[in-house]
């Protein structure tokens, strides 16, 4: 009897390059995230974190390199990869004249989810969006928009949860709800990638962290090493 083969990594990125004209946003990064793990992407503005997230989410194609999600190459089967990924973009992410419920309904329809209504209601309640479920998102505050983006990313229980700046402008209850979503996703075997500027929250949400600078990963360390004053100094050293 052979032991069952090990499951492929949830995310495997090899030598990823992303160029926009003459600008090299991502310059040859390698990244692996195992199922059930949570990894933080940290770095200064323009370091390439959001572009990396967008490539993983299928918004931007990679210029060079390989992106595998649950063993599936994104370039070959982008629709299958999109089924497996949940993405909260760094800005906006909401259709302005649609309601939260309509966003969830569209996601459920396109992902062929059945009996999704109860989970949708639970998530909206958890993020205190239940009473605005049928209001258009154009009138939402920044924090409400961020919270709904996290709901949309986590709604279909993806194998890979990508959260880009999920804590930005979010109140403490929203932060708590987001951390709960991250913990639940990990418990169900999903891989979580969190891009954030908030070092303390990255420590809370993730086991490991990659620090990016100028489109490259310049340091990888357990997130606990980023804690406190010592962590701040270590982080700062990687940014300069």
């Amino acid at each position: 009897m052979f032991p069952p083969p090990a499951p492929p990594p949830a995310v495997a990125v090899r030598d990823l390059w992303v160029r926009f004209g003459e600008v090299e946003a991502v310059r040859g990064i390698d990244l692996t995230v195992e199922p059930g793990a949570a990894v933080g992407l940290l770095g200064r503005n323009g370091a390439g974190k959001s572009t990396t997230m967008k490539v993983l989410a299928g918004v931007f194609p990679a210029t060079e390199g390989t992106v595998l999600v649950a063993g599936i190459e994104q370039r070959r089967d982008p629709l299958r990869v999109k089924q497996l990924v949940g993405y909260c973009p760094d800005v906006g992410g909401l259709v302005p004249r649609a309601t939260p419920w309509e966003h969830l309904q569209l996601s459920a329809r396109l992902r062929r989810l059945r009996d999704w209504e109860e989970r949708a209601r639970d998530l909206l309640e958890t993020f205190e969006l239940g009473d605005v479920a049928h209001r258009v998102t154009a009138g939402f505050s920044h924090g409400m928009g961020r919270r709904l983006s996290v709901v949309l990313a986590a709604f279909h229980q993806p194998r890979v949860l990508l959260l880009d700046e999920p804590f930005d402008g979010v109140d403490p209850l929203g932060v708590e709800a987001t951390l709960k979503v991250v913990a639940e996703a990990r418990a169900s075997g999903a891989a979580v990638l969190v891009s954030t500027h908030l070092r303390d929250l990255a420590v809370l949400a993730c086991d490991d962290a990659h620090v990016m600078r100028g489109g490259r990963i310049v340091g990888s360390l357990p997130s606990a090493e980023l804690e406190g004053e010592t962590g701040a100094r270590a982080y700062r050293a990687l940014l300069d």
Binding site: P61, K82, V91, G93, R97, H103, L110, V136
Partner: protein
């Protein structure tokens, strides 16, 4: 009630504030121009040169036609000039009111970072008003007609009052448009503005029904403009100078009068927009049958159109105004056939030329949904075509009241023109949406899907194509054979379908979609 605070001695006086507001227009224009890069800047310079050339040509060339300034046709035209001058005012009012008060020099979300005074905003809107195909065509028409009617003698002096009148009409329309927008923003303002429109249309209907149109136009105050031109040609310089002085004073007054309502408007809450953004929409069941993905996307795209204030107003204006004009003018079917093209090109300018802007920042999220790229593209095409069809149908229905039953050939020509215009305009609009997207927030009544210069370019190109199509089919409507327009429609529809297929092919490329989404999401 708290007592008003006395102005601080360090605050600038009223005149100083006005001077600063005027001075701010220049840097804002330069800021907009700086956003243009390389070829776009050159293109705009070329287009501006062409437009200026066309304007000069319109004002001079007709005066040198053989029978210009003679009795006969030119003499008859002279009698119609006051009505044409009044038409300039009408078009200017409708354009400014439909644009929610006028074009924005700086988009609302960008302007928040700068201390832009409502006076500056007002002056900016005035400067941008000529970037409108209807305004330009009307201006060229009156300049050309004046030149032809009076002939080459002292032409510059003859045209001067007309140029001043065009500027006065634009400034006066701006005053009315700001005031109309102020009324709309009051409590129950929606109903008040609706009442104004209904009363205006009703009054026009009564005048038409009573057969008093000609009698009223004969008493139009714009007759004085024609008299002023006559004074110039006859060398009555005292009378002419007095008239020009009055026109200049009226122009300065009209420009100045726009500032108070612009300031008032800046302090009023956008009630209708807020009401739409805070309304609750009852959930509807998820579609499950055939083409459910497309139907779900259509639902979301339709919400994007019908829950947007500028789009709703735009569709209403487009559906009622050309039809109302056709009804008032008692147009026959061969002239009504131009209407689908006119409405089609106007409809595309509401959102179609930058169709992905309906998603705004939600484009990033939508792009991560597991659906073949062709399905959202098809949904967007269908929604645009629906809007064009609704507006065209309303226009034709209104025009048909006076035109009566069409013959079989006229009906065939009408249906074929409509189909051809919708297919061609949809294809062209989606092509532009993919090649040149813009970040646009269609929340405010003044918002447009692209910057003013781009909108102008789109309107010229769409109007040219759709007018040619309309004229071609209007010619076939005079024939006895109904199959001629049908046959003529085939290559146009094939061409439009081919363009749509090319757009779909392009949209299939993830790099193209990524660029569009990133631009539109701003």
């Amino acid at each position: 009630m708290p007592a008003p605070t006395a102005p601080s001695s360090t605050e600038p006086g009223h005149l100083a504030r006005v001077r600063r507001s005027i001075a701010d227009v220049g840097p804002l224009l330069r800021f907009r121009a700086a956003a243009l890069r390389g070829s776009a800047r050159r293109r705009i310079a070329v287009v501006a040169g062409i437009l200026l050339g066309c304007t000069v040509a319109a004002a001079i060339v007709p005066a040198h036609v053989a029978d210009a300034g003679q009795e006969g046709r030119a003499g008859e035209l002279l009698l119609l000039l006051p009505s044409a001058y009044l038409g300039v005012l009408g078009i200017a009012i409708v354009s400014a009111a439909a644009a929610g008060g006028g074009r924005e020099l700086l988009q609302r979300d960008q302007a928040v970072a700068f201390p832009v005074s409502p006076t500056t905003d007002h002056l900016g809107s005035l400067l941008l008003a000529p970037l409108n195909i209807a305004w330009l065509l009307q201006t060229w028409a009156v300049l050309g007609a004046t030149a032809y009617a009076w002939g080459p003698e002292r032409l510059g002096w003859v045209q001067l009052p007309i140029v001043l009148w065009v500027l006065i009409a634009t400034a006066a329309a701006q005053v009315l448009a700001w005031s109309y927008e102020c009324v709309r923003r009051l409590r129950h303002g929606r109903f008040a503005t609706l009442a104004i429109v209904v009363a205006g249309v009703g009054l026009a209907g009564l005048i038409v029904a009573a057969g008093r149109v000609t009698a009223l136009l004969d008493q139009a105050p714009t007759i004085r403009l024609a008299l002023l031109s006559a004074a110039a040609r006859d060398g009555r310089w005292g009378e002419y100078a007095a008239g020009i002085t009055v026109l200049v004073l009226v122009l300065v007054l009209a420009v100045a009068l726009g500032a108070p309502p612009a300031h008032r408007l800046a302090r009023l809450p956008a009630r209708e927009e807020s009401a739409l953004e805070t309304s609750h929409y009852a959930p509807r069941p998820t579609p499950r049958a055939r083409a459910a993905d497309l139907r779900m996307l259509l639902r979301l795209d339709r919400a994007g159109v019908w829950r947007s204030v500028p789009l709703r107003c735009g569709v209403a204006v487009l559906a009622l105004l050309p039809g109302g004009a056709a009804l008032a003018g008692g147009l026959a079917w061969d002239t009504l056939l131009i209407m689908p093209g006119l409405v089609g090109s106007g409809g595309a300018l509401l959102f179609g030329v930058n169709a992905w802007c309906l998603d705004g920042a939600g484009g990033f999220w939508r792009e991560t949904l597991p659906v073949r790229p062709g399905v959202p593209l098809a949904a967007r095409a269908v929604v645009l075509a629906e809007v064009l069809l609704v507006a065209t149908a309303a226009t034709i229905a209104l025009g048909a009241i006076q035109a009566g039953w069409p013959t079989a050939t006229e009906l065939a020509a009408l249906l074929c023109t409509t189909v051809v215009v919708i297919v061609m305009v949809t294809g062209r609009s989606l092509q532009w949406s993919v090649t040149t997207p813009y970040a646009a927030d269609l929340r405010s009544a003044r918002a447009t899907p692209a910057p003013p210069a781009a909108m102008f370019g789109y309107s010229v190109r769409l109007a040219t194509v759709t007018t040619i199509v309309g004229l071609l089919f209007a010619a076939t409507a005079r024939l006895d054979d109904w199959w001629v327009p049908v046959l003529l429609a085939v290559p146009f529809v094939c061409f439009g379908a081919l363009r749509l297929a090319r757009v779909a092919q392009r949209w299939d490329d993830p790099a193209v979609r990524g660029r569009v989404v990133a631009t539109v999401a701003g």
